[in-house]
């Protein structure tokens, strides 16, 4: 079948594994008192993972990272793939609630669909970890970018590049993913706050491409034609913005393409080839590591779900041709 089984996130995961393995070495004369408790707390536990769809660099990356971190400890890792269907996803949560895994890792398609179900899951004793896209219900853990902050930073970049004060036309376009996804909602708030405040800046188009590169390409082509003096396009996902970039390239115009993503090799390749001007990277490896850490924390604590709320924002990096190194991006190994 050739699913991606092994995934090394590079230094991050290696260090993590090193930490896990090196602890016992210290115990030469006396037993580490926490050792048995640590392994017992994790052995035989079940973690279920529900992304919006497998087959994406982000979701495959998280899955591989979680697997690598948890499976050696005897944790069963179970993937449910709704393949972009909110309905199938909600069904999967419903059946997971009755199967009662210890932890549920959820990648929300939008803020609302899973909210009630996640609450029910926590009531049923399942820890819920949300990744990257937040639901309107806050569960035990959220791991992901600070999207409002990210939106503000993106807004600042756009202003830097495009405001008439800096020699741009002031016209920027935004291609969102799904309008109701938390990433979109929060980022838009950040972007609008900054761009709206800036002198002469104007968002000429703000549409949703549903994470689909073809749609993104069509939207971008339309916008470029409507606004020949467009200065920048900000997209919300690099995989989708491949389409945006090709529309820009086709137009032959010099438009600043700012996108974001998990830092897959593809992002670096496209920066190198000039398709993307800049990519905001939230490192998928870091996120997987954060999740694994939080899961181990929750399982050892043994407190009922919902008693604590933790948010871990992933550090962001603005990657462009100038600051990019070969280690900036990670690879999904070929099958």
């Amino acid at each position: 079948m050739g699913r991606i089984r092994n995934f090394l996130t590079g230094a991050g995961t290696a260090a993590l594994l090193g930490a896990v393995c090196s602890t016992p070495l210290l115990a030469q004369t006396l037993d580490d008192p926490s050792r048995a408790g640590y392994y017992d707390a994790l052995k035989g536990r079940k973690v279920a993972y529900l992304p919006v769809a497998m087959g994406l660099d982000l979701t495959e990356g998280w899955a591989a990272g979680l697997k690598a971190a948890l499976e050696p400890l005897g944790v069963t890792f179970d993937i449910r793939d709704p393949n972009w269907s909110t309905d199938t996803g909600s069904q999967a949560i419903t059946s997971l609630i009755s199967e009662k895994p210890d932890v549920l890792v959820v990648h929300n398609p939008d803020v609302q669909s899973y909210a009630r179900l996640l609450k029910r899951a926590e009531d049923a004793g399942i820890h819920v970890v949300q990744v990257n896209m937040r639901s309107s219900y806050s569960s035990d853990v959220f791991v992901g970018a600070d999207y409002i902050g990210m939106g503000e930073q993106i807004g600042q970049r756009l202003v830097e590049k495009c405001s008439p004060a800096n020699g741009g036309s002031g016209k920027v376009a935004i291609t969102q993913g799904v309008l109701t996804a938390s990433t979109s909602l929060y980022q838009m708030r950040g972007i609008e706050a900054v761009v709206g405040a800036a002198e002469g800046m104007q968002i000429v188009s703000n549409q949703a491409a549903d994470w689909d590169s073809t749609k993104a390409r069509n939207i971008a082509a339309t916008v470029i034609q409507q606004h020949p003096d467009l200065c920048a396009i900000a997209g919300f996902w690099d995989v989708m913005d491949i389409g945006t970039a090709s529309a820009v390239r086709e137009s032959g115009k010099d438009i600043f393409v700012l996108t974001q993503g998990g830092g897959n090799r593809m992002a670096c390749d496209n920066i190198a080839s000039g398709n993307f001007s800049e990519v905001v990277v939230y490192h998928v490896g870091h996120q997987a590591q954060d999740m694994a850490t939080m899961i181990r924390h929750l399982l050892q604590q043994g407190k009922p779900p919902g008693t604590s709320k933790t948010t871990l924002f992933t550090p962001l990096q603005f990657l462009n041709k100038d600051n990019m190194t070969s280690a900036s991006c990670w690879d999904l190994p070929a099958k």
């Binding site: 079948m1 991606i4 087959g55 549409q207 689909d212 073809t214 034609q225 020949p228 970039a245 086709e250």
Partner: protein
């Protein structure tokens, strides 16, 4: 084509396209510029290529709803193989072979298993996507990388100032026209599309002809896929589940190729493609939103079908059972 008397749909649509062109060039600044016209043509060239594939099948009284799905999966697989280090010719041959094989299976289902084309290809579309995603392609989006990068010229290059996809469209149009007009197999195809029973009684190999039309459709679809992948530097396999294939049908029906088969030619596809191109381009310049454009496009398709059925009405007495 009728020489005189009633206007055929092709003429109506062509007149409409010309009219729209005139209106846009008068009212819209920047419509009638060389750049914009090239842009217009390039934006619909892939649609046009797929339209030729669909048109050939429809002329043979079939329909191929798996066209886009097969295109996405076979080209995606090719990119995947090329990206993981396989030499490009090898990857191309394998993917093309896969594509033709699936086309032949489509044809077999329709011609020999006698499943209505509409359902056979609808099911095959879903099946191909599932097969490809499960066995062939890990990630949803396959990127143009590795040995396949040389292909990007097809989608993004230009020759004498004209983008290559337009040449590709023109070439396939010409080949399709020669095939339908002058090749024996092409004439057989039109005969089978016009009246299957009569063609069979005459001694034409009706079933092989039907299989052949789906293989041709798969072949042209593959070419369109290469152009698409080269243009966007990637192939999104989710295209298979989108409504893109219906846009292709729109082009064919709009151009005046009747769904009951046997009538029309490549010219109809070109006319349909042009109208869509002009319309999309105009709507774009008019600053109509993307989703609203879809609504307008769909309504237009509906009008085209209504016009088709008003021009060729069906009768309660002769309507065939199960002919849906």
């Amino acid at each position: 084509m009728r020489l005189s008397g009633k206007l055929g749909q092709e003429q109506i649509v062509f007149a409409l396209a010309v009219l729209l062109c005139l209106v846009f060039s008068v009212t819209l600044p920047g419509f009638l510029t060389g750049n914009n016209i090239l842009n217009l043509l390039r934006s619909v060239s892939i649609l046009g290529i797929l339209g030729i594939a669909m048109g050939i099948v429809v002329i043979g009284r079939g329909i191929d709803l798996s066209l886009v799905s097969l295109m996405a999966i076979s080209v995606g697989w090719m990119l995947n193989m090329a990206g993981s280090g396989m030499p490009l010719p090898m990857a191309l041959m394998l993917a093309l072979g896969f594509s033709l094989l699936v086309g032949a299976i489509n044809g077999w289902l329709v011609a020999y298993a006698e499943i209505p084309a509409i359902f056979a290809t609808l099911a095959m579309g879903t099946l191909i996507y599932g097969f490809g995603r499960y066995f062939l392609i890990d990630l949803e989006v396959a990127y143009l990388q590795g040995s396949a990068e040389v292909l990007s010229w097809i989608g993004q290059g230009s020759l004498l100032g004209v983008p290559v996809p337009i040449y590709a469209f023109a070439l396939i149009c010409a080949l399709g026209h020669l095939f339908l007009r002058y090749a024996v197999a092409g004439r057989y195809l039109r005969a089978v599309g016009d009246n299957l029973a009569a063609a069979r009684i005459t001694g034409l190999p009706a079933r092989p002809v039907i299989v052949q039309q789906y293989v041709i459709s798969a072949l042209i679809g593959f070419c369109a896929g290469i152009v698409t992948a080269a243009a966007v530097s990637s192939m999104n396999t989710r295209l298979a589940l989108s409504t893109y294939v219906y846009d292709v049908i729109l082009v064919v029906v709009l151009g005046g190729i009747g769904l009951s088969g046997g009538r029309g030619g490549i010219r109809n596809v070109i006319v349909g493609t042009l109208l869509i191109g002009v319309l999309l381009n105009g709507m774009t310049i008019l600053n109509i939103q993307y989703t609203l454009q879809s609504v307008i496009k769909g309504s237009l398709l509906l009008l085209a079908i209504v016009a088709d059925s008003l021009l060729n009405p069906r009768d309660e007495q002769t309507a065939q059972q199960g002919d849906i």
